[in-house]
């Protein structure tokens, strides 16, 4: 895990930069696709729980420092997605080679669908009850669609990075 940590963090920062510079202006029906949630989820699907949690924390915290929303909410959602995906990843669910082609995209789409709702719930936990007033349903559908499309390349990238540690060990 330690060997893969540095490339994972660097990749997370590059994805963070992509999110902040490109995706914030390239909106679909006004909705931003949250790559910073897909990335930890993809890392989780590789089965490396600790690595997934670290990427979730880094991606979430860095994103939260750039957004004017309650601090930590993006990170909390990313951590939940990463942990849930890693539980599935450890069981081999969503493995790119052995599972059907649609399993990984479907899991990612489910994550993308649930994530905005999780965010609103976490916001209520942080005593911000206004977040539900945004177009949450639209965010859920658009993120689900985008996650479905991007899941396989992201998971492939995550697997390449996560396997760096394994290869070095061997």
């Amino acid at each position: 895990m330690r060997r893969a940590l540095v490339p994972a963090v660097v990749a997370t920062l590059i994805i963070e930069a992509l999110q902040l510079t490109v995706l914030s202006s390239l909106r679909i029906e006004g909705v931003v696709v949250m790559l910073v949630w897909l990335w930890p989820l993809a890392m989780g699907l590789t089965g490396f729980t600790s690595l997934a949690l670290v990427t979730a924390l880094v991606a979430g915290v860095f994103f939260d420092t750039h957004a004017n929303t309650p601090f930590g909410l993006t990170a909390v959602v990313a951590l939940v997605l990463a942990y849930a995906a890693s539980r599935l990843g450890r069981e081999g669910v969503g493995d790119l080679d052995s599972a059907a082609w649609w399993v990984t995209p479907a899991l990612a789409a489910l994550g993308g669908f649930v994530a905005p709702m999780l965010y609103v719930v976490a916001g209520a936990g942080a005593l911000n009850f206004n977040l539900w007033r945004g177009s949450v349903l639209m965010m859920m559908f658009i993120n689900a669609g985008a996650f479905f499309v991007l899941a396989r390349p992201m998971t492939r990238l995550a697997r390449t990075i996560a396997n760096v540690g394994d290869r070095v060990r061997r």
Partner: protein
């Protein structure tokens, strides 16, 4: 055994992460320091990605939105022509209004100093309607100052740095603006409904004489966050729930909040 250890490690990481997030959220000072550190770390990556990916992003964006851009351009040309016509026709009236406002000591945006700024970045998240602008404290911009553009109120400044500021748009879910209409006898509170959802006013008494098309402007009551008379929104529809003692208004912002490129910060501070 190994699974137990990795599970324990994952839980420890999760707990430590939650603790760090809680501490950072509770300590504002640390948070602002963290924000600048995070900015410093991400900036080189941002710059590189910007150089490489933005032209590609613009290409896609342009291809997807081309017909919108053409339509918007035509609309803007039409509106510019109309504005020029109106400006030519109404300058004597404007001068008269400014004179009366000065005599009545009513702050009128035409007489208030403004600082023009360019929108640099949009909010990166779906849950906050904010924009960052190119001018900040060095240009006299302070937290709380109103921001106008495209013929109406856009929002207010919520954070500043020496060379930049963050503006919370009136469509943000945490935004609320005191407004009035007609002869100014009734005041309402307009709240944002999120990035794509415009504005609304809830719990409006049934006795309020308001119809679709009514224009709402800031009320400027004592202690208000905005000076009076700034156009805020137009009533799009009135929603009445059967049996309810109040009704809700769906409002369309006067300013086009989706196409903000330049805006004016009004150098006016809310009274305590």
């Amino acid at each position: 055994m190994a699974t137990d250890r990795s599970r324990r490690r994952a839980w420890t990481l999760g707990v430590v992460a939650a603790a760090i997030l809680t501490v950072l959220a509770l300590t504002g000072g640390v948070f602002s320091g963290l924000r600048s550190v995070a900015n410093a770390v991400v900036t080189p990556f941002n710059w590189t990605v910007n150089e490489v990916a933005r032209p590609i992003g613009h290409l896609f964006s342009g291809a997807i939105n081309y017909s919108d851009v053409v339509a918007q351009n035509q609309k803007l040309r039409y509106e510019l022509g109309q504005a020029q016509l109106k400006s030519n026709e109404s300058w004597p009236l404007q001068r008269q209004l400014q004179q009366i406002s000065t005599e009545l000591d009513v702050p009128y945006v035409g007489s208030l100093p403004t600082v023009a700024a360019q929108v640099t970045t949009l909010s990166p998240t779906n849950f906050a309607a904010t924009v960052n602008i190119s001018k900040g404290r060095d240009s006299g911009i302070l937290v709380g100052m109103p921001v106008v553009a495209n013929g109406g109120l856009v929002g207010s400044v919520i954070a500043t740095s020496p060379e930049g500021a963050t503006v919370r748009l009136i469509s943000d879910v945490n935004s609320s603006v005191g407004v009035t209409f007609g002869n100014g006898s009734v005041s309402l509170v307009v709240t944002g409904r999120g990035v794509n959802n415009g504005l609304s006013a809830t719990s409006v008494p049934l006795s309020t004489p308001i119809t679709p098309g009514t224009k709402l402007a800031t009320n400027g009551l004592n202690g208000a966050l905005y000076p009076p008379g700034l156009p805020v929104a137009k009533v799009a529809s009135v929603k009445l729930t059967p049996g309810a003692a109040t009704y809700n208004l769906v409002l369309r912002p006067t300013a086009d909040l989706r196409h903000l490129l330049y805006l004016d910060v009004v150098l006016w501070e809310p009274t305590a």
